[in-house]
Structures are given as C-alpha cells and as structure tokens.
C-alpha cells in the first residue's frame, strides 16, 4: 500500500505520504469552510510537525490559502458583500507589509531566531484572539439562556483610529475614517502572511470589527478579498526570493482543502452560530497552548542544523 501513496516533493526534497497531506488539507479545509477562516494557522505548524522544512511549509501554505480563499471571496463578491474600496486599501497595505515581512523573515533567519519568533507571534495572537472570542461567545450564550436579547455592540471605531488624519468615506462599510487605519491593518497582516504562511483572517476580522468599526455584512468578504491578493503576492515573493514554494505540496493540500471546505461550509449551516464560534475559540486556544508548551518545555533536542533550505 505504502508504495502507491509515497510521493517525492521536488522542492522540500523529501518523500511524503500523499494521503496524509491530502487528509491534513481536508481537515484544515473543513475547519476553514466551517468557520470562514483560511486555516493557514493550522497548516503551517502541522506541516513543520510532519517534517517539512519550515521555509517550504510557510511558502506552500500561503499558496494553499490563496486557493481556499478564492471560492469564498468569489461567492461573497457575487452577493455584493465585499467593500472593494476598503479592500483595495487593505491590499495596498498588505503588499507593503509582505515586502517588509520578507526582509524581516530573512533577517530573523540569519539570526537563527525565525522559529522562536513565529511561535511567539502565534502564541500571542492566537492566545489573545482566542480568549476574546471565548469571552464574547460565553457572554452571548449566557444572555441567550437567560432570555435577554444579546447586547448589541455599538459599531464605533477605536478612538486611536479616529485621531488619524486623511479621512475618507467607505460607503459600503459605513465608515468615515482615515485611510491610514485600514492601510496599517493590511500592512500588519501582510507581514504575518509572509512570515507565518497564514492569511491572517483571524486577526483581520476582529480588527475590522473593533478597530475600524466596519459593517458586519462586508467584513468576512472583504477580509477574504485581501487574503486572496496578499497570499498570492506572498507566494510570488517566496518563489522569487528563496525558491521555497513546493507546487506539488500545495496541490496536495488544495486537493484535500477545497473538498474539505465545501463539506465544512455545509456542516456550518446545521450548527448554531454561537456553537461554531465556541468551537473556533477553543480550537484557536488549543493551538496557542500547544505552541506555548513547545516554547517553554525543555526540548528533546537542544541542537538544530540550519542549511540553505531550512
């Protein structure tokens, strides 16, 4: 049986079990279809855990996120749930961020601190987002159980954002804010996309809601729109700067991923929204805790080897 599924990856320069990678893509795709997140935050650590060189894992995961976000972005676009003006500003910021990110990536790699930096960023962001989400979901669920209408949060953007100059009107999002705010959000997410191989939806969606105060209806679609373009740019940057995009690995992940995403989207329609968000919050926290353990427990191997590829 083994000989049918072993596949040699030309860029990662190792043999993998194709079914395991497709299964991994399907699992991540299922979750991303269910929760509307790209799932890069799961793919990259899982690939590294499987033994794929980290640089190849990050680059190929960005390619996979492009593929999984495109069909979502397209269906939101058809329903008119993308703020193209806001999206363009976010993408412009994202492009700047991804170029900055690729320099940062190389600098950290030369210092030998790339792995620990990635892990710390993951723990901080996933830990914060997971905790906030869990708190909000629990409050909503409690309110629902006691029969009250859930408290509506006023859609006001953050006071820091209100202080920025260069205000512009974004009618679809229903905001009148400084163009710098979405540009900076996009840039920050772009840095993360290149360094960690994630789309950054788990940071961008809360940032759009609570920092920019955008209308909830366009948040997910616009986020997917930005992710689609920025992960595509990240793929190009990785391909030209370090030749670390493994197209075969990306195809395997996508084969499972796109199928899983369809199933996930269908499963999502059967579950109440609060339950879904609770699961997502717990999942995000679990990944954060697992990575925090990896950072603090004494590693089995103190030494590591860095060659041109790793």
């Amino acid at each position: 049986m083994g000989c049918f599924v072993d596949l040699y990856l030309p860029i990662a320069e190792m043999s993998v079990n194709a079914l395991v990678i497709i299964g991994l893509g399907a699992l991540v795709g299922f979750l991303s279809g269910m929760f509307g997140v790209g799932g890069g935050f799961l793919t990259t650590p899982l690939l590294i855990f499987y033994g794929i060189p980290p640089a190849v894992a990050v680059a190929s995961s960005a390619t996979q996120v492009t593929g999984t976000s495109v069909s979502g972005a397209y269906s939101y676009f058809r329903r008119g749930q993308i703020d193209l003006k806001m999206g363009a500003v976010l993408v412009a910021g994202g492009m700047l961020g991804s170029v900055l990110g690729s320099f940062l990536f190389r600098w950290l790699k030369s210092l030998g601190q790339i792995d620990v930096t990635i892990a710390i960023i993951y723990v901080l962001f996933l830990g914060t987002v997971g905790t906030l989400m869990l708190k909000e979901v629990l409050t909503t669920m409690k309110a629902q159980r006691s029969g009250q209408a859930p408290a509506r949060r006023g859609r006001r953007h953050h006071p820091l954002v209100a202080a920025l100059p260069l205000k512009m009107r974004f009618p679809r999002s229903g905001v009148y804010i400084s163009v710098l705010a979405p540009f900076l959000v996009g840039a920050g997410v772009g840095v993360l996309t290149v360094i960690m191989g994630v789309g950054g939806g788990f940071i961008m969606v809360p940032a759009m809601l609570y920092l920019l105060g955008m209308a909830a209806g366009v948040v997910v679609g616009t986020s997917l729109f930005q992710i689609l373009f920025v992960t595509a740019v990240a793929t190009l940057l990785h391909a030209t700067q370090s030749q670390t995009v493994d197209i075969l690995l990306a195809i395997l992940l996508l084969l499972g991923g796109v199928a899983g995403a369809q199933l996930g989207a269908r499963a999502a329609q059967r579950l109440p929204a609060e339950k879904l968000r609770l699961f997502l919050a717990l999942l995000v926290l679990a990944v954060a805790i697992r990575l925090a353990i990896g950072l603090t427990w004494t590693p089995r191997e103190l030494f590591s080897i860095q060659t041109a590829l790793a």
């Binding site: 596949l7 040699y8 069909s71 595509a232 195809i251 103190l302």
Partner: protein
C-alpha cells in the same frame, strides 16, 4: 650511471607496488534517480580483494566502505532558556559538512583503525573534518559537532554500521548502504579501504550521482530558473482549483 640507478629504483618501486593487495569495486548502480516515486534506496557496494601472487592471508581482512555526499556549509545552533522560553543562543558554523555520510566496516572503527589513519581518511562519524569556522574552544566545538552528528543520524543522513561489511572467503566483500528519501542531490563518492594492522593498505573509489529526474527535475529547474513564472503558475493553479471546487460545490 645515474640514469641506470634511477631506472633500477623505479623497477624496485613497481615491484613493491605489485606486492600490495588491490581492491576491485563495483556498485549496484552508479546513478540514483530521484523520481516522484522515490522513497529512499539502497546502494550495494561490492567487490574483491586481489592479493599479491594470489596468496590469501590467514587473517580475515579489515574493510571499510564509505559513501560520502557533497559538502556544504551549515550553521549549528544550540538552544538555552531565556525568561522561560527556549531560544537559540549559541551558533557555530562548519564550512564542510557532508550532506550525507555513511560508513560500513567489518568491525567497529576504533578496533579497526588507529587514530591517525581514521582521521586522515575520515573513516567513522567521530573522524569527520567539518572545518569549524567560528572561534570556539575545542570542547565547545566538539559538543556542537556531536550535536550535529546526532541530528543527522536521526534523520538517516549519517550512518555508521560497525558490522555492515560482509566478507566471503576473505576475498569478496559487500556492504548495503541505506539512502533515505531526504538525501541531498549531488556528486557522491564511494570509497573502499583495505585495512591491516590499523593502517590503510589499499583504497579504491567510484563516483555515484544522485539527482532528480523527469517530472521532479523539471519542476525544480522551473522553480530555480524562472522563479517569477513558477510563482505565477503556482498562484494561477491555486486560484483555478479553488474556483473549480467552488463551482462543483454549488452544483452539488
């Protein structure tokens, strides 16, 4: 007169050379192709010992078989705990670490060879010359070198088989070298040593090429030589797959 003397010395030299045993070697394959189905391989290195005058000695011969991959510079890092988090703190650069190194011997290297010969011919994982390029004490360098060797052994990229060479009738020898799927591509060299009294008596070498072939090679070359179009192709493919799946999903 002087010419005659030189000629005599030459002849004596040739006679002495004839007194030395010779090694004849062959490989199961001199080229290992990495195709999309490649999941590791095994290289059989075999041959015969030609003794001077065909006289086979009483003692079983000592043989060491080495397969050496291309060398490259590597940085070895060591973690230490800073504020509760494990961070890479120390780094040591080695200029010439082989990407693959396997040694098979008739008995453990320390019983077979003296220190000097083992070091000269780099036989045994403890005798690799990695050319440390970072100034550090010999003790630190040694610890880093051991750490690196241990990692590569775990990955199957460094192999030591103390009884890996089989000798038949004190003439024929053979060794099987396992090659993992993560093996680096490049020009390899198989080296066979005949050892007696702790010293190398005869040596033979054969080149081995490990390279990607067919589809794997095309992809690799595409990614290296036309990296922008490769990236563009990857993006296009991802977008196409995503859209196709979306369409199928809507219909279903």
């Amino acid at each position: 007169m002087r010419v005659l003397l030189a000629l005599l010395m030459l002849l004596a030299g040739a006679a002495a050379a004839a007194q030395q045993p010779r090694l004849v070697t062959d490989l199961s394959q001199s080229r290992i192709d990495i195709s999309y189905r490649f999941a590791g391989a095994e290289l059989l290195i075999f041959g015969a010992i030609q003794y001077p005058g065909g006289v086979v000695p009483e003692e079983p011969p000592g043989i060491a078989v080495v397969l050496r991959g291309p060398v490259e510079p590597v940085t070895v890092r060591k973690k230490a705990r800073i504020a509760g988090i494990w961070v890479n703190t120390q780094a040591l650069r080695f200029e010439s670490a082989p990407g693959f190194y396997a040694v098979a011997t008739t008995k453990p290297v320390t019983d077979l060879l003296d220190e000097r010969n083992a070091a000269i011919y780099e036989i045994g994982l403890n005798h690799l010359q990695l050319s440390p390029a970072t100034a550090a004490g010999p003790e630190t360098t040694g610890r880093f070198q051991q750490g690196m060797v241990k990692l590569r052994v775990n990955e199957g990229l460094f192999v030591e088989q103390p009884y890996g060479v089989q000798v038949t009738d004190r003439i024929l020898y053979r060794a099987r070298i396992p090659i993992p799927s993560a093996v680096p591509v490049g020009n390899y060299q198989a080296e066979i040593y005949l050892i007696d009294g702790g010293r190398v008596r005869a040596r033979s070498t054969s080149p081995v090429i490990i390279d990607k072939t067919g589809f794997e090679r095309s992809i690799f070359v595409f990614a290296q030589d036309h990296s922008f179009f490769y990236g563009l192709f990857a993006v296009t493919l991802a977008v196409a797959m995503g859209l196709l799946a979306g369409r199928i999903g809507r219909r279903g």
